[in-house]
């Protein structure tokens, strides 16, 4: 699964979007992972991870932290979100110090992630590079919708629901933060960046409102 790799949207927006992951290797270090998972969660919480979760339970935008922690099993996958490079650096420092022996992955814009690794004193081992979207792209949703739906790499977020949320915010029935949480709850893994999503919704709705106002003036 390469579910955090292929996010889209402007580079500036993606610079505020990082994912962290803890992974167990099947047959090597995949037994009794709960104590290790709790170390990862503690480090992530200490540096203010905006969202995280376990695919077996769901994201913390929808479930209590205690419930997610209670349900951790060897089948769990723990992962989450940061919005600042400084969080990545501090998180990696803490995890390195704990020396839990699980694989750690950070996804994001490389010119942000690689300096963060250096600053934290960790050495990249391997990288999965995104070479973008290929094939018949004519039927893809618009770029704004994709910048939101690709934040759930398993594509659990229906494009029509994004459109619905945009409309609800435009009509004043939801705030951009409320809409972003509703969208985040589709992503069971907890890697959806609801902070970035709210920014995208706000920007899109404001732009649409301005266009309407300008057209009305004419």
């Amino acid at each position: 699964m390469t579910h955090s790799l292929h996010r889209s949207g402007s580079i500036e927006s993606q610079k505020k979007d990082f994912n962290w992951f803890m992974y167990q290797t099947q047959g090597v270090n995949d037994v009794n992972i709960k104590p290790k998972a709790l170390e990862f969660i503690a480090a992530a919480e200490a540096v203010g991870s905006e969202n995280w979760g376990d695919v077996k339970t769901g994201p913390k935008t929808q479930y209590s932290v205690e419930e997610i922690k209670d349900k951790i099993s060897d089948k769990s996958r723990i992962r989450g979100v940061f919005t600042k490079r400084e969080q990545v650096v501090e998180f990696l420092k803490r995890i390195k110090e704990k020396d839990v022996g699980q694989s750690v992955v950070i996804t994001g814009i490389l010119e942000e992630v690689l300096p963060a690794c250096k600053e934290a004193g960790v050495t990249p081992h391997s990288i999965n590079y995104s070479l973008g979207v290929w094939g018949k792209k004519d039927n893809l949703p618009d770029d704004t919708t994709l910048s939101i739906t690709t934040m759930c790499g398993h594509h659990m977020i229906p494009p029509k629901f994004v459109e619905h949320m945009m409309n609800q915010v435009a009509k004043g029935k939801l705030t951009e933060d409320e809409a972003a949480i509703k969208l985040a709850n589709f992503c069971y893994c907890g890697i959806f960046n609801q902070v970035r999503c709210a920014d995208i919704i706000k920007e899109t709705v404001e732009k649409a409102n301005k266009e309407v106002a300008a057209a009305t003036e004419k």
Partner: protein
């Protein structure tokens, strides 16, 4: 499979907003919604989100191996039976510091068929698998990646005929090649991308130096592919650390 109970559906169409691949349709004749079974990927978003206030959306037993495969791969909550991994069922770069699956001098190729969000019929996944195998890449075996369980011959990439018309939310064609073969594999992908009725997102997995670099990517310039700006970085903290 997932069905809409005609007796319970009120035709409100709310559920249509929750379908990841627009497989919920509306019959203006019957004034009811129904699911296009050929297009539905069994991702279960409509069920997990409990979108129907009438409870009209119902899971029906997945009565054959391919339906079960379709659901397990399309719904990330499920663990794949052979690899034991959730999501799309493969570890790829995530554990490479321990598994050593991609070694120095090799390139891992992760082709996310159907992403972003269009879904993929397995007949298109087969075309791509056969293209990369034909270009000399070695397709990943069943213990590493779910799609291989449907392949009749890993050297060719052909899938069993019975599965070809199943629609999945996405599935990964996974392979590896030597660094000096990368250009020909990418050229094969440039050709086959014009022959499929969907999209794929492409990832290349490489061992990197202490600065996070690998000169193999230089070949991208020769074939008109932009240098990547996003990456999934395995930071080498897993144990025992693979030095391969």
């Amino acid at each position: 499979m997932t069905m809409i109970n005609n007796d319970l559906c009120t035709g409100c169409k709310i559920c249509q907003k929750y379908c990841t691949v627009d497989a919920i349709l509306y019959s203006s004749e019957e004034k009811k919604c129904y699911i296009d079974q050929e297009r539905c990927t069994e991702c279960y978003v409509c069920l997990r989100q409990k979108v129907c206030s009438q409870g009209a959306i119902e899971p029906i037993e997945l009565d054959n191996f391919y339906k079960q495969f379709q659901h397990v791969i399309s719904d990330p909550v499920e663990n794949h039976g052979v690899t034991g991994v959730t999501g799309r069922g493969t570890e790829e770069v995530k554990t490479n510091d321990v598994s050593g699956r991609i070694k120095k001098g090799e390139v891992g190729i992760a082709i996310d068929m159907g992403r972003p969000g269009m879904g993929v019929y397995l007949r298109d996944a087969e075309k791509v698998a056969m293209a990369v195998a034909g270009a000399g890449a070695e397709l990943a075996p069943a213990e590493h990646t779910p799609l291989a369980t449907l392949m009749t011959d890993l050297k060719v990439g052909k899938l069993v005929d019975e599965c070809l018309n199943y629609h999945l939310l996405s599935v990964i064609v996974e392979a590896k090649c030597q660094e000096n073969q990368l250009k020909q594999v990418l050229e094969a992908l440039q050709k086959v991308e014009k022959e499929i009725d969907t999209v794929f997102s492409l990832g290349l997995i490489l061992r990197v130096d202490e600065n996070g670099e690998n000169q193999t990517l230089e070949c991208l310039n020769d074939i008109g592919i932009a240098r990547p700006h996003r990456g999934k970085v395995n930071v080498g903290l897993g144990k025992p650390l693979s030095l391969a």
